[in-house]
Symmetry: C2
Subunit: 313 residues, 2 copies
């Protein structure tokens, strides 16, 4: 299969559905809708919707059945980027090659557009109970999964730890110069950050796809493990690209290095980071092999794992 072609097709389907879901929202001030749509339309691979749909399809369903849930997860992701870019957080001017939300709409509206995308993700997810293909109970469970992975013990917790870790390495250089105790502490903190800041929302995507398909508990667990592995690898590759990546392709400056963030690369160097990411991808394939269903049905998820390792933006 051609994973790039698959992404192009699924990105297009997701983009169309996102626009529809935002446009049908009732009684929204035009400027707020515009600000929400601006960030939702700023491009991106739609990795999380693609993962959710691909997981659901393993069990024989059609993508149309779960588009609301796929859009909901992308809305959560987009809100997190808007708030993360704010002057008081990462203070980024560019995102996906375009001015960040607060640069265009001002800080107040960027806060509100983020709040709206986060809240309305639950409204859009609720629509999944109306497709006629999904049990209401499964949509309810998805809401709980989404809130868990996106909240204080999930993504927001990860962002908080990420902020706190700024300057953690201040004055310190590569791992050879650091004590074992320091490295252990840093590794633990880094693992918390990666797990929650990035992997949690990727886990939510896959877990929601599984729950919407009424997957067995055994399959759910292996899929969740798969998602955690690719999520952790995704963040390590992101940190590597922040240093060595083509800024034009990334569409942003390397603000992590600028902000002296604690990253896998700043701690262990590029080579070690690549080795660790590769071992996570290998583990992801193993977990996926344990999920019931034909190899063909799971092909997309295997390809996505490899794609995460090979991406250059």
């Amino acid at each position: 299969m051609n994973i790039k072609k698959h992404f192009i097709e699924r990105t297009s389907v997701t983009n169309k559905a996102l626009k529809v879901f935002i446009k049908v929202l009732h009684d929204v001030p035009p400027i707020l809708r515009k600000s929400m749509l601006y960030s939702l339309s700023a491009g991106g691979k739609r990795l999380r919707p693609v993962l959710l749909i691909a997981t659901y399809e393993i069990f024989g369903g059609k993508k149309e059945d779960v588009l609301p849930a796929a859009c909901a997860i992308e809305m959560i992701h987009t809100y997190s980027l808007i708030h993360d870019d704010l002057p008081s957080l990462d203070n980024d001017d560019l995102r996906r090659g375009k001015p960040t939300n607060h640069k265009v709409f001002g800080e107040a509206l960027a806060v509100l557009a983020g709040d709206a995308l986060l809240t309305n993700a639950f409204t859009v997810l609720g629509h999944n109970a109306e497709t006629g293909k999904i049990k209401e109970k499964n949509v309810f469970d998805c809401m709980r999964i989404l809130a868990k992975h996106a909240g204080a013990g999930g993504m927001v917790g990860g962002q908080t730890a990420d902020l706190q870790a700024e300057g953690f390495l201040h004055g310190k250089k590569r791992s050879v110069h650091l004590s074992k105790t320091f490295l252990k502490r840093a590794d633990k903190l880094l693992n918390y950050i990666h797990l929650h800041k990035t992997a949690d929302l990727i886990c939510a995507s896959v877990e929601m796809g599984a729950v919407l398909a009424s997957a067995s508990l055994k399959d759910f667990k292996h899929l969740s493990n798969y998602a955690r592995c690719i999520g952790l690898a995704f963040q390590i590759v992101d940190d590597v690209l922040d240093i060595v990546g083509d800024k034009k392709k990334l569409g942003k400056k390397g603000s992590d290095a600028r902000n002296k963030k604690l990253t896998y690369v700043s701690l262990f160097g590029i080579e070690e980071s690549n080795i660790h990411a590769a071992s996570l991808i290998s583990k992801a394939h193993e977990e996926l092999d344990k999920v019931s269903g034909s190899a063909k049905a799971k092909e997309v998820l295997h390809e996505i794992a490899d794609f995460i390792m090979k991406r250059d933006k």
Copy 2:
């Protein structure tokens, strides 16, 4: 009945439950939990939880059955205050007599604590499916009600319109000097702001109480109308207090006047505002009379309507 005593008792029950729900959240960075608890513990009447519980009790249920939902609505209210106080929005230093969240924890953490309270409100609401007294389907419906009233076409929409209306009256004085066309436009905008910025979350509280009790559609509608009326009155009284209230009792400076906000008072003056609020309260009583159940069962909601009109903070 003694409504003040009722508030004291229910505020205490809600406060205890809120602390428990935040403390049991798993894997949360201590500083984030502290920031969330700080704003949740900053006092307040807990009007929304009290309304939710009182509505549920009309139909014979016990308050313990719906404490998760009551806490969820307060978490949404608290997040909205944290974000509303941010320097880029209302730029308030005091809230309920205490320094605002960003004054204590910094702007970045205030954004994140708000995001966490908003997201975890859905987690806490989800727990209501575990009390054994409430149908899962009803909790699911509550999630949709909450997202609708709190989101882009609800509270966040109202906050956006409120921001946009700043300076709307710039250079203009009392209604006697304003043209009919201008007044009509201003009144429409003001109605949108009040309906969504304030009344929507009060509607959500009452509607959730009704849904959790499996109320009939007819009762639901009358209760929703009641809530809209007291919600609109609440905001008008708030605007009056912003001008004439005792700043010590209010625990904040009158930032609306400072920010040149469009309010009922700035448009129609204090006397007209009080008359309008009173007529809304009267309409609220009428709607409540149409709800099934004994007068005794609905006493608390009647008292709350009157309390909103008479409050001095």
